[in-house]
């Protein structure tokens, strides 16, 4: 009986020694995973995930404190990408307020703006140009639609406008016409305008 206990203790000590040695040989620096998660986030720095921007949210996910579905601007794609990266279940996105389809951009109504620079300080990506008592305007290409500039404005002159679709940004919708969900009405190319006209000119 005594021998048994001694043997096990000796064995444990031996393995402990071996593992200590191995851990020195295989030292590992900071984990690059945070950068990979950060690369997937849309960088709107909007804080809707209750973290102070995308980087802190990425660190929270890497540390396992935050779930992967707190990012409304990223939407379904980001949740899917994060689920693929971390090989976890795809959690549905919490849709509290109505999700505006399509990207949105902030626009300053020139008549109302009093040049108070509050929105300039609020914008996380410096997308608003202007100076004290001068006219302010939003750089449309830089604005990420994070809506952080709307609350601080004292005269409420900032509106969120969906980006207009032009011929170059339009693209083919995903085909929906298969046997499981046939949409109402005729999907094919009978041009209703022409045929209606011709049927009873």
């Amino acid at each position: 009986m005594l021998w048994g206990i001694l043997a096990i203790i000796a064995l444990a000590a031996l393995f402990g020694l071996l593992l200590g040695l191995a851990s020195v040989v295989f030292k590992v620096e900071s984990s690059p995973v945070v950068d990979q998660i950060d690369a997937l986030l849309p960088q709107t720095q909007c804080g809707q995930c209750s973290y102070a921007g995308c980087r802190p949210y990425a660190e929270a996910i890497a540390a396992g404190e935050a779930p992967i579905n707190l990012c409304p601007p990223g939407g379904e794609n980001t949740v899917q990408a994060l689920a693929d990266l971390l090989d976890v279940e795809v959690l549905p996105l919490e849709e509290e307020e109505e999700a505006h389809e399509g990207p949105i951009v902030a626009v300053i109504i020139e008549e109302l703006c009093i040049g108070c620079t509050l929105c300039i300080q609020a914008c996380p990506v410096d997308a608003i140009i202007g100076a004290a008592k001068q006219m302010h305007t939003v750089i449309e290409s830089e604005c990420t639609g994070c809506e952080l500039c709307v609350p601080p404005c004292p005269v409420d002159c900032i509106e969120m406008v969906p980006v207009k679709q032009t011929i170059t940004t339009w693209h083919w919708p995903e085909p929906q016409y298969d046997v499981n969900h046939t949409p109402a009405g005729n999907i094919f190319t009978t041009i209703d305008q022409v045929l209606a006209e011709n049927a009873h000119p």
Binding site: W172, P173, P175, V179, N180, P183, I187, F188, T189, I191
Partner: protein, 351 residues
Amino acid sequence: MFVAQSSPFLKPELSVSKMMLVVLLALIPGIITSVWVFGFGVLVNIVLAITFSLLFEAVMLYLRKRPVKVYLRDNSAFLTAVLLALALPPLAPWWLTLVGSFFAIVIAKQLYGGLGYNPFNPAMAAYAILLVSFPAEMTTLWTAPVMLGGHESLSLLQTLNYQLFNQLPEALTLDAVSYATPLDVVRTSVINGLASISEIRSTGHTFGMFGGIGTEWVNLAFLAGGLFLLKKGIIQWYIPVSMLATLGFFSLLFGSFELDSNPSPLFHLFSGATMLGAFFIATDPVTAATTPKGRIIYGAGIGLLIYIIRTWGGYPDAIAFSVLIMNMCVPLLDYYTRPRVYGHNVDEEQP
């Protein structure tokens, strides 16, 4: 809103149900010879299997809230039922066909999402489950081929009576009617070293002209049906040719130096359900590989596995297991056998 149909706007008259119909057409010669050789049991099985399968399919589609009529008309459940029935022993009791159809349609196909999504061939999955769960019924209820003589062949009514109510006409016992298939005889005798090929041949009960007695004609009929399918372009040559070639090659290879314990290649090709497997089961497009190279490897794999299991394995006819095992490898095969796309690594072959 103007919902656009994308090009192209030309379409030939073609649909999945037509394709399956042509496959059913190609099965008819094989069915007729089976009924002629093995008795009416085969026909009873087919009718039972079709009714059960269509019933299960309709119920599952209704439960999954999918348009029942559209999917029923695509004849895929119909084809699965016929293939399963042809694999079952002629005197199989009705509940065997019921369980088989249930597994084929509900478990192996509808649970995965219906037509096009099932990774395993439904008919073979059902056959394998039946073979494993009811070994007795699946191996002893085979009827003797009609040309053998000396065995009573049951009339339609008598077969129906047996299959539905398990009653035999008074004079007959089950042994008088049932019969060990050629493959089974060869396997049991060779594995346990009871008798060599020449001794079995002398009994005249097992070896016909070029394959197992009786089954050679059934295989020939299925071969004819298969060639018809090839000509109509419903299936490509890759899978049947590579499967039969591999099976023939290995039986030739091993047959050449141990002539007495390994049957000839022709015997392998024309006995059991080889031709049915090669042209109708392995070429099921949903569960087979899709790239030409992938299909050749898929067919060769099935041929090799058939030979291995038939010679050394525990089951006489290994079509079902080989197809299922190769079905498992299909996703990998499809990914790693992609053909060279126009313009990719082009420098060497540029004329």
